[in-house]
Each structure stands twice: as structure tokens, then as C-alpha cells.
């Protein structure tokens, strides 16, 4: 491939996936226009641009998250990467034959049984017959179809099809995987199992793209996230910053009724903590109303998409003026190396007009103004759990 001046080409020689200024249009004209287009005749029928100037590269071992709302172009991007759609402009490079884990499920002969489908898929992937037996057994066990594994696919529910498909394609992952919202398949148990299987797959060196609108999953799996908006790359970089951009439109504006004073200074602080030690934080809140308000305190570990609630809905007696608030943790429970402290000022539950929390003001990593907390002790996550909670032991 010829090198260009595009920044995404910087590491092009090593990249597993590379998009350079990729465009994709869809015709929305009449049938006649479509025929003209197919025949290469001049046609000025209306088009909608699904992808516009998309450039990025994914390095080996990296999973790129693609976040975006419905219609942002996530699925189109994956389908262009998977070769299902052809790009109308720009270049697409994929290392080898990608494994596509799409929600759409299974196309093909609906009269095959689950077992026969697995065998067919593995033969299609050039897996020798001797190896297939073990793989089919792995699929049977993972997909939890019980007796249905030997029944035709047309008797399956959509959930069963999705489980089978996930089990089959992840049994022999290629070097590049393309994942579309697959983590929503099955119940809590199946999702946990699927998640571990994906992590395992990535740790064996697969690279790929995960398209989702659930940032909870993206942040746990991806070291880099791209935010798509109306077919364009709005942001490409660190997961935290990407999620901030992604959530920005849905985060309520701070009101001037009850708000944090010196928010910028408060938020720019980095607090250090020791697991099990007491911790205190003091801040001022200005209230322009007489009503009571609520304080919520949470500690979040975005990387694990984990929240610890350390106090919810503490009602603070209202009154106009400056409230000095002190929050104390007798024993700070987090042993993870790094976390974010979030503070929320809300309308008390009893006074809420709807089911939604009515937030006056907040300090949270999702808004950009965040209080970062760092563990003073060097702990290696993996040796320790995320939290520490003393147990009282006894033996007889």
C-alpha cells in the first residue's frame, strides 16, 4: 500500500486494521436510480453519507472501541471493515480474514442442526477434521443449548441463535475480530462467561474493533476509544476522555440553584489515600434556595466500570448561603491503585417531580471536572481485590 501523509498511516506497516479517509454513501433514491448506479450511468440521486473521512489504525493486540449513538455509523464501519460493504472512497486494510461477531446471527441453511452448523463453519475456516471434534464439544458446552444443539436452527429462538453464533466464532478467533454489541446476549451468567472468553481471546493476541453504545463494556475491554457522531470521528484517544465526549450531550447542565463553590479548584485536586485509613474532604456549597438538598458521594473506578457507593442521598437542611460540608470516610475501602471521587447535589427524593434524579450540580469524571484519587501504597492489582472489607474469623 502506498504511504500517504495521513496521520493514521504513521504505524501503517504494523497495523492490523487501517482505515484511510474512508467514505461510505447509501443511495436513498428510486429503484431506477439504483439500476443507473449499478450500470455506472450518471446519476444524481440523493445519497446519505454514512461514513465520512474515517481514518484510524489498530495495532496488534489492541481492541479499538467505537462508541456512538444509534445511526452514528458504528455498524456501517464494522461492515466496511468486515468486507460486507465496500467503501466508496479511501482505503481499507485488514490483516487476513476477520472474524465477525455480529448480532445479526446466522445466515445460511436453517435446516442444519447446531452441531452441523458448527462443523460447517469450522470446515469453512479450514480447520482439519481431527481438530473440529474438540471445538464442537467446546461450542456445545459454551452455548448451553442442551438438547437443541442437535435440532435444526429454525427451531431456535433469537437468543439461542446468538449464543450459538457467539460460541462458534469465538472458538477459533482470527487475528482480527469485529464485534458488534454481542455482549448483550444471554443472562447475567452467560454475559459474564462471554466477557471472560473475549478477554481471553484478546490476551492471545487478537486485535479488533468493538462497536457499542454501552460504554460500560467498552471501557473494560478497550485501551482506546473512537467516538463516532453522524458518520465522522469526533474523538479518538483515551477511554476516559472518549466517554466524557460521548456522555456530554446527556449530562444535565449545572443549575445556579445549588452549586459547588470554587468547583475548578476543587476538581483539579488529586487526593491520595491509603486503604483502611480515615479520609476527610471539605468543600463549600452555595445555595440560592431555601429548600433542602441532597448530597451523594460515590467512588468510581472507570477502568473496571465499577462504582462504590459511600453515601447516597444525605439530606442537607437547606437555607440560602454557603454550606461548608465535610465528608469523612472512617475507613476508606478502596485498595485499587486509582479511583475518582464523585459528588452530586440533587433535589431530595421526596420533592422530585419525576422518576429521574434532578441534579443541581455534580463533580464526576464523566463531566471533566473530576477529583482524582491515587493510592499512596504501590499495589499491584491482581494480588489484591478492588476493595478491602475486614472479616471477622472464627474456628472450631
Amino acid at each position: 500500500m502506498p504511504l500517504s501523509a495521513d496521520p493514521a498511516d504513521a504505524a501503517a506497516d504494523r497495523a492490523d486494521i487501517r482505515f484511510s479517509r474512508v467514505h461510505k454513501d447509501f443511495l436513498i433514491g428510486q429503484f431506477g436510480d439504483v439500476m443507473k448506479n449499478l450500470l455506472g450511468l450518471p446519476c444524481d440521486c440523493p445519497r446519505v453519507r454514512a461514513l465520512s473521512g474515517i481514518s484510524f489504525a489498530v495495532q496488534p493486540g489492541q481492541l479499538l472501541g467505537v462508541l456512538g449513538r444509534n445511526g452514528a455509523g458504528k455498524s456501517t464501519l464494522l461492515r466496511v471493515a468486515g468486507g460486507i460493504y465496500e467503501a466508496d472512497g479511501g482505503t481499507v486494510f485488514i490483516h487476513g480474514n476477520p472474524t465477525a461477531i455480529f448480532e445479526m446471527g446466522i445466515l445460511g441453511n436453517q435446516h442444519l442442526t447446531g452441531r452441523a452448523f458448527s462443523d460447517f463453519y469450522f470446515s469453512f475456516r479450514d480447520i482439519p477434521k481431527a481438530k473440529r471434534k474438540d471445538l464442537i464439544e467446546d461450542v456445545r458446552e459454551f452455548a448451553e443449548l442442551e438438547g437443541y444443539f442437535d435440532e435444526p436452527l429454525l427451531t431456535y429462538s433469537s437468543g439461542m441463535l446468538a449464543r450459538l453464533y457467539f460460541a462458534v466464532v469465538t472458538a477459533v478467533p482470527g487475528r482480527v475480530v469485529l464485534i458488534d454489541e454481542i455482549l448483550s446476549v444471554g443472562d447475567e451468567y452467560f454475559q459474564g462467561k462471554s466477557f471472560k472468553r473475549l478477554v481471553n481471546m484478546l490476551s492471545r493476541g487478537s486485535s479488533g474493533i468493538l462497536a457499542t453504545h454501552d460504554w460500560f463494556n467498552a471501557i473494560r475491554l478497550c485501551s482506546r476509544i473512537l467516538v463516532l457522531h453522524e458518520g465522522r470521528v469526533e474523538f479518538d484517544g483515551s477511554p476516559l476522555e472518549a466517554i466524557r465526549r460521548y456522555l456530554k450531550p446527556v449530562i444535565p447542565e449545572a443549575t445556579r440553584q445549588v452549586f459547588f463553590l470554587n468547583k475548578e479548584r476543587l476538581a483539579s485536586r488529586v487526593l491520595s489515600y491509603r486503604c483502611g485509613d480515615p479520609l476527610q474532604i471539605r468543600f463549600d456549597v452555595e445555595s440560592a434556595i431555601e429548600d433542602d438538598f441532597c448530597l451523594g458521594v460515590a467512588v468510581e473506578i472507570p477502568k473496571l466500570s465499577m462504582i462504590a457507593l459511600l453515601g447516597n442521598d444525605k439530606v442537607i437542611r437547606g437555607g440560602k448561603g454557603t454550606h461548608e460540608i465535610t465528608v469523612e470516610f472512617p475507613e476508606f475501602p478502596v485498595s485499587y491503585p486509582e479511583c475518582y471521587l464523585s459528588l452530586f447535589l440533587t433535589r431530595p427524593r421526596a420533592n422530585r417531580r419525576g422518576a429521574f434524579e434532578e441534579i443541581y450540580d455534580q463533580i464526576s469524571w464523566t463531566t471533566g471536572a473530576s477529583i482524582r484519587m491515587v493510592n499512596e501504597e504501590t499495589v499491584q492489582f491482581g494480588d489484591h481485590a478492588v476493595f478491602h472489607h475486614p472479616l471477622c474469623w472464627s474456628v472450631r
Binding site: R220, H384, H389, C392
Partner: protein
């Protein structure tokens, strides 16, 4: 005013034989009683109410009801879709033998209570389920029945309306009327009613104070759910000996009464209970307990020796227990892993035996989001209101 049922049966013919929906039920409800009826779907609750309301005829036994019965059965039934809300109120009043003047007298209250606003003059077919529920409830409550039967109608309104409706129902029964409430929500059974009937397969299997009956029913549901979890998570729940010198005979989670459970509410006391059998003598054993999220991330991990318990030499049977205190985990399912270690061996060879089980945590109260760790008790804070008087966080 009373309701008396004596050995009442209601059978429905089915393709092969008969289905007994209500099976020899005897029951007496006196004036002023508020009775909740609980039980799983298909237990016969609705049929029982239909018998009391006179909407169904008993196959055998006697039904003796004194007083004017009014019921809000399945939602929206009884509302005429093409008529407006206001017209429906008049029709219903007429059906209940009220004059136009009597209806006019309460019309304003009904409209106000139902919170329908201008929608009251639109056809009922344009209403949402919640709006229909509110109208039906308001209509019935102001027509002043002697015996009021409510079947799940409260669930359709929002939380605010439910509490308003609950207050109104209490008011009615305090005036000596009878209230019968069919519900799946244990909280409203306790809040609304003093007496509770638990139905199962057409029979009343428990009749007593609401708090007691709902607790027994909850326990029953929990056992059923635990059976389901046990089947679902059988791959996770296992015990394994790595070294033949020690085996784990039992690993379970216990509640405050010492009963084995798998489902806990956030905030309840939890005890990890381990029974082990050491075949040989193990000089310096140790135990590690881990709580993991289903995606494999370890939330809590404790080592007995690090928490200050040195297990002595172990031989034969032993029971090791660890109390988590009030459960600080959020609503989710977790894998709980117990490992016995030999401290005289290098870490990679230390594992003697391992056992794992599953803990499902249900939410307690109104906690939004999905916290992994909940610790409201660790929060102590105070507020100083600078310009005026002192203040505190409750």
C-alpha cells in the same frame, strides 16, 4: 357487612378433566378488615375475588356476601373506550345506582384525584394504562363501596399516585368498609393490610398478620429462586481437593439465623461457613476468601492470617467461619471462592482444596446505577451553615 365463604370450589372444564381454580376455601372477613391476597400467578387469587364479587359462580360451597361490592379487577375493564373520562364517571355512577346529582357532587373530587386534567374530556381509548388505572381507581373510591376489591391496579400508576391511592384506601377501611387487595408487591400488602392470605394451588395455605405471612411467602419464593440459581450456576458451584490431605465437606453462606442461603439483600448480615476434613495433620493452614464479579474481577479478598486469625494445626473435622458483617455488595450475582492453603509451602504449591458458591445480591432500598460495593454506614459528615445556625447531615 361481611364476607363468608364455606368450602367454596370453582372448577373449570379443560380438555382432559377439570381444573380446580379454587379448592374448598373457607373464609370469613368482618367489617373494617383490610385483607391482602398474595400468591404466585395461577394460584387462584383472581378467581377467588371474582367469586366474592359475584362475577363467577361457585361450583360448590356457599358464598355469603353482605354489602355493596365494588371492584377494580384487571385494569381498564369497565371503562368504555369510546366515551370520555367524564362520561364514564356518569355511566359508572348510574350502574352503581347513584343519581346524577350524587355523581355531580363528587365529580370534581374524582377528576382532581385522578390527576387527568383536560384529558378527562378525551375518549378513554386515548389514555395510557396509568391514566386508565387512575381514573378507574378514582371512580370507585368516590362511589363509596362497602366492599372494595382491588386487583393489582396500583402497579400501573406512578409511585406518587400509588401512595395517594394507598392513603385513600386506608381511609375507606377505617370507616368500617372491607378492603381486599390482590398484589405481588409485598411492601404494599404490609403497608395497606393487617391481614394477609397466601394462596397456592387454589387453597389458602396461610392466613394471618401481613408481616408474618409476607415473610413466609418471601422465604418460599427465595427457596424457589435458589433452586433455579443452583441449576444455572452448577458449573461454578463445586468443591475440589488439590491435595488429598484436606477436603472441603461444606461451603455455604448463612444468614443471621444460621440458615443456608444464596440470595441476600444488600445490608443483611452474611456469614461464610466452611466445614473441612483434614485426613493428615496440617501444621499451618490458612484460608483465603474471594468474592468475584461474574466477569472475573475480584471485588473482595481476605486471608485469615492477614485478618489476624492464625489457624492452629488441623486434623479431622473443623469448622471455619468468617463474618462479613452487613453485606456491602451491590445488586448482582457473585462467585464466592474459598481456598485452603498450607503456609509451610511456597505460594504456587500451597493450595490444598478449593470450593466455590454463588451469591445473588438483591437491592435494598432505592439505589440507582450498579454499584459493586455499597457502604452507606461509612459515611459520617457534618454541615456548617456559615451565616446562620449550625446544621447537620442526617
Amino acid at each position: 357487612m361481611h364476607v363468608r365463604l364455606n368450602r367454596v370450589c370453582k372448577e373449570f372444564p379443560v380438555t382432559n378433566g377439570r381444573f380446580v381454580a379454587v379448592d374448598r376455601v373457607s373464609l370469613e372477613i368482618a367489617a373494617g378488615e383490610r385483607v391482602a391476597v398474595i400468591g404466585r400467578n395461577g394460584a387462584g387469587k383472581t378467581t377467588l375475588l371474582q367469586l366474592i364479587a359475584g362475577l363467577a359462580k361457585a361450583t360448590s360451597g356457599t358464598v355469603d356476601v353482605e354489602g355493596h361490592v365494588n371492584c377494580i379487577m384487571t385494569l381498564g375493564v369497565g371503562l368504555r373506550e369510546e366515551f370520555s373520562g367524564r362520561e364514564n364517571i356518569y355511566i359508572d355512577g348510574e350502574l352503581n345506582g347513584k343519581s346524577r346529582r350524587q355523581v355531580d357532587a363528587v365529580l370534581k373530587d374524582i377528576i382532581e384525584f385522578s390527576e387527568l386534567g383536560p384529558s378527562i374530556d378525551y375518549p378513554v381509548r386515548t389514555y395510557s394504562t396509568g391514566m386508565k388505572a387512575r381514573l378507574a381507581f378514582a371512580m370507585i373510591i368516590f362511589i363509596k363501596p362497602n366492599i372494595l376489591i382491588v386487583d393489582e391496579a396500583l402497579s400501573a400508576g406512578d409511585a406518587q399516585f400509588s401512595s395517594k391511592a394507598a392513603g385513600k384506601m386506608k381511609e375507606i377501611s377505617s370507616q368500617g368498609e372491607i378492603l381486599i387487595l390482590v398484589t405481588h408487591a409485598m411492601a404494599s400488602a404490609v403497608a395497606m393490610c393487617d391481614r394477609c392470605l397466601w394462596m397456592e394451588q387454589g387453597r389458602i395455605i396461610m392466613d394471618g398478620p401481613s408481616a408474618k405471612v409476607t415473610e413466609a411467602y418471601r422465604e418460599h419464593l427465595r427457596e424457589y429462586e435458589e433452586k433455579r440459581i443452583r441449576e444455572r450456576f452448577q458449573n461454578i458451584m463445586r468443591r475440589q481437593s488439590v491435595d488429598s490431605r484436606l477436603r472441603i465437606d461444606r461451603f455455604e453462606l448463612r444468614d443471621s439465623r444460621g440458615d443456608s442461603r444464596m440470595i441476600f439483600e444488600s445490608g443483611e448480615p452474611v456469614l461464610f461457613h466452611l466445614c473441612v476434613h483434614a485426613v493428615g495433620r496440617i501444621e499451618r493452614p490458612d484460608v483465603r476468601l474471594s468474592v468475584r464479579r461474574l466477569d472475573g474481577i475480584t471485588i473482595l479478598q481476605n486471608l485469615a492470617s492477614r485478618d489476624g486469625l492464625s489457624l492452629g494445626p488441623m486434623e479431622g473435622e473443623a469448622v471455619v467461619e468468617a463474618s462479613l458483617g452487613e453485606l456491602a455488595l451491590g445488586e448482582q450475582s457473585y462467585e464466592v471462592l474459598a481456598e485452603f492453603l498450607d503456609r509451610d509451602r511456597p505460594p504456587e504449591l500451597a493450595l490444598l482444596a478449593a470450593g466455590s458458591t454463588v451469591m445473588k445480591v438483591e437491592r435494598h432500598g432505592d439505589i440507582s446505577d450498579r454499584p459493586a460495593y455499597v457502604s452507606p454506614i461509612l459515611h459520617a459528615s457534618r454541615l456548617k451553615d456559615l451565616p446562620t445556625e449550625g446544621n447537620g447531615i442526617t
